[in-house]
Symmetry: C2
Subunit: 338 residues, 2 copies
């Protein structure tokens, strides 16, 4: 199953709105086939593995990271193909998170007399497809908020100057983080202040996510801005195409629901303190990746997030999941405590 | 030598202005005696070890964490006692940092025909007595700045509210930190805002350092304040007893020089953003111990240090030496890059 999970990861940039899935077929203690879901709309992991052995899996065991599908979608149901292959046992990491189909693949296999076990390395499988799972359950993508700040929590000088807070290795790490997400979300303020391209410029990483700008003030009109480069599509959410919140600003949840409707499972938020603060207050951030540089930018500099908190009882409590050094910077992975 | 260093540590609360020193005597592969400097003004480590074997160390090797003294001070010179004991070899971690006597103990031993090696575990020995070393070289004590802050770098709400930022384990760690220092330094603002006792209240830690308050405005007059409790002496530095800086405020370096004159090797700075900022600007902090809680206190809260920095080129660069979790809080050890 560990191998199947590793195979699944290889589909990261191809599967689009689909989950990443890997499959390993074992017979008499030997691996006889393996596959993963490579491209959205094309064959699923199980079929890619079965194809390697001409669908002859008599008496074999399949390890699949996600419950095989039972329905005719863009491709025929995988459960049916497994039944026809002659496999005697299927081990699944996790059930399908889509409430409409969850459990149906397992039922179809069991009805055909195949032994089915579910839950092996389940947490790892859930972690792998946390974006897909969240979208299936809520309609919203999984939002990671990246912040590059000084040790005293500042992300820019009062003048707006912010280059560079973190070191080169941390900035390379951000490139990898971008390439793991389907969309980069930012605000019009960041676009106008820094004119960033928000692309993946690291050699060996070919995937640039779509770029999404929240623009309450219809400020982003100049098509020569780097955000409109040819590297990836760019979407602007403004008051014409998005619901408004009670404060007259764009309703952030509506932006994310629209992205979810487009099949976006994962969003990386790279924005200024205003948008980050509003996203925190709307409880729309699932995970923080904070690069904390070993510097003090001082008390005049701008805080990482505009959060008007006045009492200790109202402070926002996080859970820290991981801390590691990226050269001289710390990288802190955290989430808001429920 | 590792054992000798561990022995040396046991003198932490007794040696006062003196360095911590440990000594182990070995003969034919066996440890025959060990000792450490226990109490200021009383026997040194070498003598305490030699006493265990009635000064009969014929052919033995002494491991000492600091160069044996060659001069008559409050006690007779240790180098002479070693020579008389019949020891044939002395291994030293580091030379005496006092420029007036450094090397003289080694010379006295060598002149008597004893083999001397210096530099074994030298870095560890320097770390152990970094306060003593700094005071010998500069007259200033080693200053550790403790900060308890949120992940976004805030140490109090706009109202001044600050209890509690970090968890109980981190606060216990602060008690240990206090007990390792000879003085706690704070400002009048902190005294008036929080009325802290600045004592060591943890069971098993009996040593409370002296308490030192910097009070430019002659504000600390009420002797019922907790800082005047009977647990330890308290010194107030004000415009009557301290030199002034060009800005009319108390010259911080003069406070530290006065503490150095009193034999204070180690100072723990526990203060508000004003004094911490001024100490950073005066380049008087040797080490930061920052407890970073997994919380966001928001953009209205007060920054850890008042530092009016306007350009990225003026930011203060730190070197991070250690990061570890204290339950849910991070503890970051850092120093300002030279």
């Amino acid at each position: 199953m560990d191998l199947a999970l590793k195979l699944a990861c290889q589909g990261m940039h191809g599967v689009g709105a689909n989950p990443m899935v890997g499959c390993v077929i074992e017979k008499a203690g030997r691996i006889i086939a393996q596959g993963y879901h490579q491209v959205f709309g094309e064959a699923h992991a199980e079929i890619n593995a079965l194809n390697q052995i001409n669908h002859q899996a008599d008496g074999a065991t399949l390890y699949v990271t996600l419950e095989p599908c039972s329905h005719q979608g863009k491709t025929p149901p995988c459960a049916q193909a497994i039944i026809e292959s002659g496999a005697k046992k299927v081990i699944i990491a996790m059930l399908d998170p889509n409430p409409l189909v969850s459990g149906k693949g397992v039922a179809m296999l069991k009805n055909a007399g195949i032994e089915v076990l579910a839950g092996l390395l389940e947490q790892q499988a859930q972690q792998l497809n946390r974006g897909f799972i969240k979208r299936m359950k809520t309609g919203l993508p999984f939002v990671t908020c990246k912040i590059a700040m000084s040790l005293d929590g500042k992300t820019s000088m009062q003048s707006g100057e912010s280059k560079w807070i973190t070191g080169e290795s941390a900035r390379i790490d951000v490139q990898k983080l971008r390439s793991k997400n389907q969309a980069i979300l930012t605000g019009s303020g960041t676009i106008l202040a820094d004119n960033p391209a928000m692309t993946v410029r690291l050699q060996g990483l070919s995937h640039t996510p779509i770029r999404v700008v929240i623009d309450s003030g219809h400020l982003i009109t100049d098509k020569t801005l780097n955000i409109f480069s040819n590297d990836a599509p760019t979407q602007i959410f403004n008051t014409d195409n998005t619901k408004l919140a009670t404060n007259g600003k764009i309703k952030l949840e509506d932006v994310l629901l629209q992205l979810g409707d487009q099949g976006i499972n994962t969003v990386l938020l790279e924005a200024g303190p205003g948008l980050i603060g509003a996203m925190i207050e709307s409880n729309l951030i699932d995970e923080f990746i904070i690069y904390s540089a070993p510097t003090l930018m001082g008390s005049h500099a701008n805080s990482m997030a505009q959060l008007p908190i006045n009492q200790m009882t109202d402070k926002i409590n996080l859970a820290i999941h991981d801390v590691r050094m990226i050269d001289e910077d710390m990288r802190i992975t955290a989430s808001i405590k429920p």
